[in-house]
Subunit: 476 residues, 2 copies
């Protein structure tokens, strides 16, 4: 037990020092490491495997909704950035600029894509001729670079991995439908695969994407009650089609500008997973995206037949499609329990000589630490059933917290008390930027999304008539 405690002590206390807990967990579980260039990260195999599972799930959903993948260049002429006024204002300050190539100073500097609306817009302008070519439904999996001052692994890094969907449509209605459809795909994915319930809704003008007509976001509640923007879907109207001349010959014989959208989620989702489900012992990974779903720990491993039985069990589980592994290292069982708990593996399987003799195994679930026994004969079915239960329970638990931690406020003071108590706060807002800025200043909370279908009396800041109910929270 001494060793166990010592091990848990490697992680800071989740309740008293959440930021430190986060850093400890992501590095000690080998999800990520710091790259040599400030603000960059190395996604290590254990972290990358989560990303691969996320990609697989999302990619299937994108394809099922008619999207195809493509790949556009990393490097964008600097001048492209300046064609859409809001876009350049938002992104120019944070781009990395290539000025030398092949030993020579470039005639025009190039930016490393911070996002690809411009270069993709340029290509769509070339490809789009007739209404028959619409809609264009393309997604790309790529790396992007945004020069960030304050960085944290997965949450905010100078380079990150993401997907960015870019579509073009004949009408405003179709483009808006696409925008909302993809927001819905993200929400369903977050709940089904990440076990994270989210708030979705329109962003305020201040919080919207630089160049969008409207941005819709999904916000997830983290362990500390702060919000994390986990994905966004933008209705771009004709802003980029006018800037990049994305036009088509319509049925009526006239040339029209297309309506475009873009939508993205990134490796930030890994940060969301960690901070939504983690506990004092470390990671708690939802089975759907966990790199290892079940870890077999041999007990009294030196006794004859134990390691063989553990290997057989692992093989049996893998054959049934469970991502199973076996820790046959010469560390003690206690050390292994802690290690794999910290790594967030949903189900631990203990298998010792007596279990083998009795034809059974001990299952310990990561979320509740509950122990059960199951027969070795039906091992795969038992493990799969337990994985499904863990997945469901994580979502249930997160939903419960999400519901318990919403309060309403009628003044800035109430709003402050709400967010200080680790809550999301619904409050009336008059709609003006001044109040939005003032609230941020006084409470460190920002408008996460505008709440649809609810009406408020007064603005919590100025007391004038409220235009919207807004969900406020401190955010990552």
């Amino acid at each position: 037990m001494a060793k166990e405690n010592q091990f848990v002590n490697q992680i800071a206390d989740i309740e008293t020092d959440f930021p430190r807990w986060y850093t400890d967990v992501v590095t000690r579980t080998k999800l990520v490491d710091y790259g040599p260039v400030k603000g960059t990260m190395v996604i290590r195999p254990y972290g990358y495997a989560i990303w691969e599972n996320i990609q697989k799930e999302l990619d299937a959903r994108f394809k099922a909704t008619g999207h195809e993948n493509a790949y556009f260049p990393l490097l964008i002429p600097y001048s492209f950035m300046t064609r859409e006024a809001e876009h350049v204002e938002g992104f120019a300050p944070e781009v990395a600029v290539v000025t030398v190539g092949g030993g020579e100073t470039l005639a025009e500097p190039l930016v490393i894509r911070p996002t690809s609306e411009t270069v993709i817009g340029e290509m769509y302008s070339k490809w789009l001729q007739s209404y028959r070519d619409l809609p264009i439904l393309i997604n790309q999996w790529a790396n992007v670079v945004r020069w960030e001052k304050t960085t944290r692994p997965f949450l905010r890094t100078s380079e990150f991995l993401w997907q960015e969907g870019h579509t073009a449509h004949a009408t405003e209605e179709e483009a808006m439908e696409e925008t909302m459809k993809m927001l819905g795909v993200y929400k369903e994915f977050a709940e089904t695969c990440l076990a994270i319930p989210v708030f979705t809704g329109r962003k305020t003008e201040k919080e919207k994407f630089a160049g969008a007509v409207a941005t819709f976001g999904m916000e997830a509640m983290m362990h500390d009650g702060k919000s994390l923007q986990a994905g966004t879907s933008h209705y771009l109207g004709q802003n980029f089609s006018k800037a990049f001349d994305i036009r088509f010959l319509d049925k009526d014989g006239t040339h029209k500008y297309a309506y475009t959208t873009s939508w993205g989620v990134s490796t930030r989702l890994i940060g969301a997973l960690i901070m939504a489900h983690g506990d004092s012992r470390g990671l708690v990974l939802p089975p759907v995206v966990a790199p290892v779903q079940a870890i077999v720990i041999p007990i009294a491993a030196k006794k004859e037949g134990v390691l063989e039985a553990a290997a057989t069990l692992k093989a049996k589980l893998r054959a049934a499609g469970v991502r199973a592994d076996c820790d046959a290292s010469d560390n003690s069982p206690g050390w292994k329990f802690n290690e794999w708990e910290m790594k967030g593996v949903p189900v631990r399987i203990e298998l010792g000589p007596r279990d083998i003799e009795a034809g059974k195994m001990v299952l310990v679930r990561r979320d509740t630490h509950e122990k059960t026994e199951a027969s070795l004969e039906n091992a795969a079915e038992a493990v799969q059933a337990l994985l499904a239960e863990v997945q469901q329970n994580l979502l249930r638990r997160a939903k419960k917290r999400k519901e318990e931690r919403i309060v309403t406020a009628e003044s800035a003071e109430e709003l402050l008390r709400g967010v200080e108590g680790g809550n999301f706060v619904k409050a009336g807002w008059c709609g003006c930027r001044e109040c939005e800025d003032k609230i941020k200043e006084q409470t460190a909370a920002s408008a996460r999304v505008i709440v649809e279908g609810e009406t408020a009396g007064k603005c919590c800041c100025c007391g004038r008539e409220a235009k919207h109910v807004v969900l406020f929270a401190r955010a990552y």
Copy 2:
């Protein structure tokens, strides 16, 4: 027929103008387009789907041989490049350099990775402690940038997509075994999936990777008899472990430098596919990597029930795992035949009212244009069997050409005649750089690989005793 001819005329003649044929085919079939920055490419959905199939096949092989995926940063401190003498000499002239980030001039310029031995070496140095941590078997799927003067889509572009495996081992033997194992994986993949038989072997000092002790390559013969380097596997010895201090505490209690390897294939493979199998009508894609394996063309599509029957057939094929599509556009059948032939779809299915009545369909294979009939009832089995045959036949055909087009030469003149006739040429070589350079100058052919197990009399250049038999060819 007039329309058909007109359509085929969109592509230059493959025999008389192969470079133009290539450019025509890659752009007209929408595999690729030119990016706005000189030398960059946009991989369009039809091209990217081939890459996805290549990735899926390779990734499964990497994982089956114990490798895990990870992701390392795009940006590398310039100083890293200079730590390995040969490496900097080889790569420094072709890097893209970031000098500005977040609006400020950077203290140290950063290079966009042209390959990742340096940054990965830095991380391995940090991660590697004990012999227990070895081997490290990591692969990454990523984009890289190399500033190229002369570019062609897929074959040589400033940015391309690839995978790069980077491994570290305790001993020279293990590292060499890994190097050869991955070369073997590439070769098996090229033959099984791409239907491209390859020559594998060690590269000469001149042709090896900058920083490697030894490079092993696989070379594929293209339609015009030129060679394309389709993949390489490098034994790096301790060159990078010494430059980046990749050391471990061995069982004997002493610190030792690890032995490392790296190996990669890229989107160049798409170029290889095109140039190995293409014919006068356009692409010929091997079924294993073809985005569309079978295209259903409704005949007399306006007749009642035809479109419905075509849609049902498509759905049936898809349910059986065939990547099937149906061209229900209002173009003529003749136009569609040409279009999908040009796009290289392995099997075309013609389905008209009489076929439907008779419960059958017409199958036309892309490789031989042979027509057969099959019952609609067993449609999936018939199509799958035909796809397997096409795959086999493409490999057989390519093997035959590869065997027929190898000649031997005893002098530089014979070598020149050989390569001018579109052959690969085996010739003796004394082993000196001077002769290698001279042969290149006189014949435009370079040493592709050293042929193992064969002995030659004299060097074809200087007439001195030959050290190796070398396979020479003109190369992309």
